[in-house]
C-alpha cells in the first residue's frame, strides 16, 4: 500500500503544471455551456426556437426547456463527449511516458510495474471524476441562472443516477485505450483508436447493434439515442462493458510488465 501511495504521489508530481488538465476541463465544459444555450433558445418558443439538426434532435428526444431535459442533456454529453474526453485523458496519461521518453526510467525500479500502472488508473479515475463534477456544478449554475422550471428532488436524483452510471461506464471502457497507449508507445495511436471507436459507435448504433457495441452503450444508456434504444440495453450490454474493461486493464498491466520495452 505504501508503494502504491508512492507511485500515486509520483503521478501527481508528474502532472503538475500540465496544461492538458486545463484543456480537458475547458473542452468538457462546452457541453453544459451549449446545453445552456440550447435551453435558453427553447425557453420561450420550445423547439421552434431551434433550427436545423438541433430542432430535429430536440423534437426526437422530446426536449423541453426544463430541469429534466437539461440534466438529461448533461448525461448525454457525458455519454458521447465522455468517450472522447476521457479517452483523451487516458491516452495522455498512459502514452506520455513514451512521448516524453521517460518510460525507460520507470522500468527498473524497486517498485512493481503494476503499481505504476495502477497509480495511473487511479489518477485517471480521479481526473474523470473531477471533470464530471465540474460539469455538474457548472450545469446546475447555468440552470439556476436560466431559472429553468420543473425542479424536483426526484428528477434531480433520477438524472444524477443516469449521469454517474454513464460516467462509470465510460471510465470502465477506457482501459483498452490505456493498453493502446502502452502498446503503441505514445498518445497518437490511442487517440486514433478513440476516433475510430466514435465512428464505429455511430455505425453500430445506426445498424441497431449499439446495445452490444461497448462504446455505444454509455451513450444509449444516457438517453442520446432515445427511449427505444435505451430499452434495448440488457444484462449482456453491461456484461460486455465489464468484460472489455477487465481485458483492457489486464492487457495494459501484462504488456507493461512483460513486453520488451525498447523505447
Amino acid at each position: 500500500m505504501k508503494q502504491q501511495w508512492q507511485a500515486f504521489t509520483a503521478e501527481i508530481i508528474k502532472n503538475r503544471h500540465s496544461t492538458i488538465t486545463l484543456v480537458t476541463f475547458i473542452a468538457f465544459s462546452l457541453a453544459p455551456l451549449f446545453g445552456g444555450v440550447f435551453m435558453f433558445l427553447m425557453k420561450d418558443n420550445g423547439t421552434e426556437g431551434l433550427s436545423g439538426a438541433f430542432q430535429a434532435k430536440a423534437t426526437l428526444l422530446s426536449f423541453e426547456a426544463n430541469w429534466n431535459s437539461f440534466l438529461g442533456l448533461l448525461s448525454q454529453a457525458v455519454g458521447v463527449g465522455g468517450v472522447l474526453i476521457f479517452g483523451f485523458v487516458a491516452s495522455w496519461l498512459f502514452g506520455r511516458e513514451y512521448s516524453d521518453g521517460t518510460a525507460k526510467d520507470l522500468l527498473s525500479l524497486p517498485i512493481s510495474r503494476a503499481k505504476i500502472i495502477n497509480a495511473k488508473f487511479i489518477y485517471y479515475i480521479l481526473w474523470c471524476t473531477a471533470l464530471i463534477l465540474s460539469n455538474l456544478i457548472l450545469g446546475l449554475l447555468i440552470g439556476l441562472v436560466l431559472h429553468l422550471p420543473g425542479w424536483s428532488a426526484e428528477i434531480f436524483v433520477n438524472n444524477l443516477i443516469i449521469y454517474f452510471v454513464t460516467t462509470v461506464l465510460i471510465i470502465l471502457l477506457n482501459t483498452p485505450i490505456a493498453f493502446f497507449a502502452i502498446f503503441g508507445k505514445g498518445y497518437m495511436s490511442p487517440l486514433g483508436f478513440v476516433a475510430i471507436l466514435l465512428v464505429l459507435a455511430q455505425i453500430f448504433g445506426a445498424l441497431g447493434f449499439g446495445n452490444y457495441f461497448p462504446w455505444a452503450i454509455p451513450g444509449i444508456y444516457s438517453g442520446s439515442g432515445g427511449a427505444d434504444m435505451k430499452a434495448g440495453l440488457n444484462f449482456f450490454s453491461f456484461l460486455i462493458i465489464g468484460f472489455t474493461s477487465v481485458i483492457g486493464y489486464f492487457g495494459t498491466i501484462f504488456w507493461w510488465k512483460y513486453a520488451d520495452q525498447t523505447k
Partner: protein, 300 residues
C-alpha cells in the same frame, strides 16, 4: 564478487542478432567500459541487464541474484539509457522528486545534494524542456545517482557534454569508485574516452564480445613501430638486420621495425646508419592511436 554476471546472453530482433552469446563478469569496484560502434549491441545489452527486455537465452545476475521486477535490488542500481529524457514541464527538482517517490527514499536532502554534486543548482527551478543538452545529461545522471547506488549502468554518459563537462563526469565517476565503492558499467563508442576512465574494456561488434582487456594492458596491445627513410633503403635495411635490428620495407618503401629496442631508442638507429654512411632523411616512431586499435580489433 561479481556485481554483473551474464552467461551466453542472446537477444534477436527478427533476423537481427543484437546480442550474441555474450558472457561478461563485472567485479566489485570496477569501471567496465563496454565499447562498440553504433548498433553494435551496447544498448540492447544494457536494456537486458536492466530487465527492460527479455533475453532469448542465457542468464543475467546482478549482485549474485536474478533481479526480478520491483525487487529491492533495483535500489542498488542507478542507470541512464540512451538520451536522457525528463518530464518537460517539470523543473529539475520536480523531476528528481518523481524518482525520489518511486524509489521510496526518505531523506529529502538527497535531492538537493545530487543537484549540487551535478552542479545543477542554478537550474533546479528551471523546467526540463528549457535545459541544454549537457544539462539534460546532468539531470539524467542525477536521476541515476539520486539514491547512492552501488552499481551504475550508464549508456553513453558523456554524450552532449562539453569538454569541461566530460572531464568533470570522468573525475566524478572515478571518485565514486574510489571513495564510495561503486561499480560502474558504461558504454561508449569512443575508445580514447573510455580508456581514460575504465579499468577494463570489453569490445563488442555485431552483437559479439570480441575482446576483453584491462586498460593497463592496452598500451601493450597498441602497435608501435619505427619508420626510417634514407637515400638507400635496401642498404640501410641490410645494415640494420646485420646489427640485430629486425626490420623490413613496408608498402610505402620505408624501413619499418617493431623491435622494442629500435622504438625505445631511435637515436641508436640514427647513429648506426650515419656510421655506415646512409644517414636517415626521416626517422619517426609511429604509435597506433586508440581509435585505429579499436577499428583493427573489430575488423579482425
Amino acid at each position: 564478487m561479481n556485481i554483473i554476471q551474464t552467461y551466453d546472453l542472446t537477444k534477436t530482433f527478427g533476423d537481427t542478432i543484437a546480442v550474441d552469446y555474450i558472457s561478461i563478469n563485472v567485479r566489485e569496484g570496477e569501471i567496465y567500459g563496454f565499447l562498440g560502434l553504433n548498433g553494435a549491441g551496447k544498448t540492447t545489452l544494457i536494456r537486458l541487464l536492466l530487465g527492460m527486455i527479455k533475453p532469448d537465452s542465457g542468464s543475467i545476475s546482478l549482485f549474485g541474484h536474478n533481479a526480478k521486477q520491483g525487487s529491492d535490488i533495483w535500489n542498488n542500481v542507478g542507470y541512464l539509457v540512451e538520451t536522457p529524457y525528463a518530464y518537460p514541464n517539470l523543473t529539475v527538482k520536480e523531476n528528481l522528486e518523481v524518482f525520489y517517490q518511486l524509489r521510496g527514499l526518505n531523506d529529502r536532502k538527497q535531492i538537493d545534494k545530487i543537484i549540487s554534486v551535478l552542479q545543477l543548482d542554478q537550474y533546479k527551478n528551471k523546467k526540463a524542456k528549457y535545459l541544454s543538452l549537457g544539462n539534460s545529461q546532468r539531470l539524467g545522471l542525477a536521476k541515476a545517482l539520486l539514491h547512492n547506488p552501488k552499481l551504475l549502468i550508464l549508456d553513453e554518459p558523456i554524450n552532449g557534454l562539453d569538454p569541461a563537462g566530460i572531464v568533470e563526469v570522468r573525475e566524478f565517476l572515478k571518485d565514486l569508485v574510489k571513495n564510495h565503492n561503486t561499480t560502474i558499467f558504461l558504454s561508449s563508442h569512443i575508445l580514447s574516452e573510455i580508456s581514460k576512465v575504465a579499468t577494463r574494456i570489453g569490445i563488442v561488434h555485431e552483437g559479439k564480445l570480441i575482446k576483453e582487456i584491462n586498460t593497463s594492458e592496452l598500451e601493450d596491445q597498441i602497435i608501435k613501430k619505427l619508420c626510417v627513410n634514407t637515400n638507400e633503403n635496401q642498404k640501410a635495411l641490410q645494415i640494420l638486420n646485420e646489427n640485430g635490428f629486425n626490420a623490413s620495407i613496408n608498402g610505402n618503401g620505408l624501413i619499418e621495425s617493431t623491435e622494442i629496442n629500435a622504438i625505445q631508442k631511435p637515436e641508436l638507429i640514427s647513429a648506426l646508419l650515419v656510421k655506415y654512411n646512409v644517414p636517415p632523411k626521416m626517422i619517426s616512431v609511429f604509435e597506433e592511436d586508440l581509435e585505429a586499435y579499436f577499428l583493427r580489433m573489430i575488423k579482425s
